[in-house]
Symmetry: C2
Subunit: 345 residues, 2 copies
């Protein structure tokens, strides 16, 4: 244990598992939780809502209010060395503008920042980095962005997990990567912030498609083929944002996509499986507590493709299935009915 205090904002499954990783290297990890039922569980040493049945390390504590959090930090005389944000992308804007002063102070005092948010805002087409850089323009180098193949439950089980960590500052990347480093968790660093965030967002769309394909009764060949063609399209989105192609076939792109399409645990895949049964998107979403990021991202990608004239046949087809009631089987047949063409052009 070489660090004092880390704060994790938001105790969803992923925020909680990152808190567990940090608990190896920090004296105290404070989970800042808004909802009362999650908070109560954390106080009893378990995230009963999102990761039921898994005991948390004893140096992970919950805080429901800022006052409570400040008291814990004070009592421990614990300098806040790392802030982790596990908020959904849609919540970043309001949360960090409302609490800007507090975070300015942490950052001024040298705290590093690690965002776990994935997704594209379907209204503004902005990504998490756009918000953070906008609200904290003097601390851009303090921000890092984590993404990669990491089911929270498996991280809790100490399964070996490799992720990407992107940011603008070399020192900060190395610092946060070390803070996250354990015998089972490893964050590879990268300067390609947009690529890592875009990979983490767009792969959710293909995960839905993977679920639909499986649900329709197609098997391994079809799934592998469609995913691969989908990644080729992902690169075109990256191209207009100046990200590096390698990032998309790295951990935050291909790696996460492999996980998400082949692991039965993924929410986006389950969503696709339900769609294939003929259920309506909104109906499925209403019946779940957790967010299906890929659904909103599909719309954002559709709008991005229009805005930047990106050729995106597969992503468009998924959009039409999710938002315009198109028949997935007919869409697949349409995609197949094209003359010989080059794989990469």
């Amino acid at each position: 244990v070489s660090h004092k205090t880390a704060i994790v904002i938001g105790a969803g499954a992923f925020g909680t598992c990152i808190a567990s990783v940090l608990s190896h290297n920090f004296e105290k990890v404070i989970l800042k939780v808004r909802s009362v039922d999650v908070y109560q569980g954390i106080c009893e040493g378990e995230n009963k809502i999102y990761l039921p049945g898994i005991k948390l390390a004893s140096n992970i504590v919950g805080a429901h209010t800022w006052e409570e959090l400040d008291k814990i930090v004070e009592k421990e005389n614990g300098k806040v060395e790392l802030i982790v944000s596990g908020l959904p992308t849609g919540a970043i804007k309001s949360y960090f503008s409302e609490n800007k002063e507090r975070f300015d102070k942490y950052l001024d005092e040298g705290a590093a920042f690690c965002s776990l948010s994935k997704g594209i805002d379907p209204e503004t087409l902005e990504l998490p980095d756009d918000y953070f850089y906008h609200y904290f323009p003097d601390h851009k180098e303090s921000f890092t962005f984590l993404s990669g193949p990491s089911f929270a439950k498996e991280v809790m089980e100490k399964q070996i997990t490799l992720v990407s960590l992107a940011g603008q500052g070399r020192e900060e990347l190395i610092t946060v990567s070390k803070m996250l480093s354990t015998s089972y968790f490893k964050a590879f660093i990268s300067y390609d912030v947009k690529g890592v965030l875009l990979g983490g967002a767009l792969k959710n769309i293909l995960a839905i498609a993977g679920g639909v394909i499986e649900g329709l009764g197609y098997n391994h060949n079809t799934r592998a083929g469609m995913i691969t063609r989908g990644i080729t399209e992902m690169l075109r989105f990256g191209h207009v944002m100046n990200s590096r192609p390698e990032t998309f076939y790295g951990l935050a792109g291909m790696g996460d996509l492999i996980l998400t399409t082949t692991g039965s645990l993924s929410r986006n895949k389950s969503f696709g499986l339900e769609l294939a049964k003929g259920r309506k998107p909104q109906e499925i979403i209403d019946s779940q507590r957790t967010v299906v990021e890929g659904y909103k991202t599909t719309k954002a990608a559709y709008l991005l493709a229009r805005k930047y004239s990106i050729r995106s046949t597969i992503f468009d087809a998924i959009y039409q299935v999710l938002y315009e009631g198109a028949d997935p089987k007919a869409k697949i047949e349409e995609l197949m009915a094209t003359p010989p063409r080059f794989e990469h052009d």
Copy 2:
């Protein structure tokens, strides 16, 4: 049906399924089979050894000898428009030097050629294209090379299947792609012959690693992470052979790797699973009729890495497990125990 006759050399599972694809577009598809038991099955309309229980199309016929094959071609007055080679890489050299005259004649008469062979010769470090270009230097443009995510059984079931087809001649690529085109099968074309062949070969090594990881009890996170880091190494092999990075995250690279690591049907993965149980490589191989390409390819990749000074930590670790009795769990821990580093460098 717009073509006369296709010849498929070798009736393994994959050769047989490509014959089935071709049966939609050719009047006659002749499977040239060496082993008597496979041949007898084909004559009865079924590849009883490699694809038992699946009925072959009626225009697929077997030929045990060249005389028999010539008789069928003559009788049908069927021009041979396509030759498919489904031989294991190790068999190409002797087969096509022994029968060179015959194939020269087909090629002179305008036949196209499609090779299904994957793998690197562990003695000479040559790939299938090296052999074909060596024996048929005047017909280089006639040769195409197919690779991609395609379990034979699923192709037989008419599951949608997308593959890469590489070659030097634009017209020939389009021609063969059309010959292979059905409502469920599609070959995307590419000029990157070495990339497609290298992807198809090296992915077998990572498939073994995927099996070992699964067999050791690691789960989705670990598998996705290791595969992704493995592809990064594949690119370095491609680099010394001037292939395009895109090829490795295309159908013949990433696509086939997704299939092979996540589908339970893959031979290389099963091999890895058995290894994880503590069985010796040679013992597993001796107990199977089919070839585990990845085993030999691991040695070839190891030698290639030495020859060209390729940084190949993961591939080397797999080599040490397969050929030097190294403990896979210890190797994985070793790979994890490195300081923060850039994901792509």
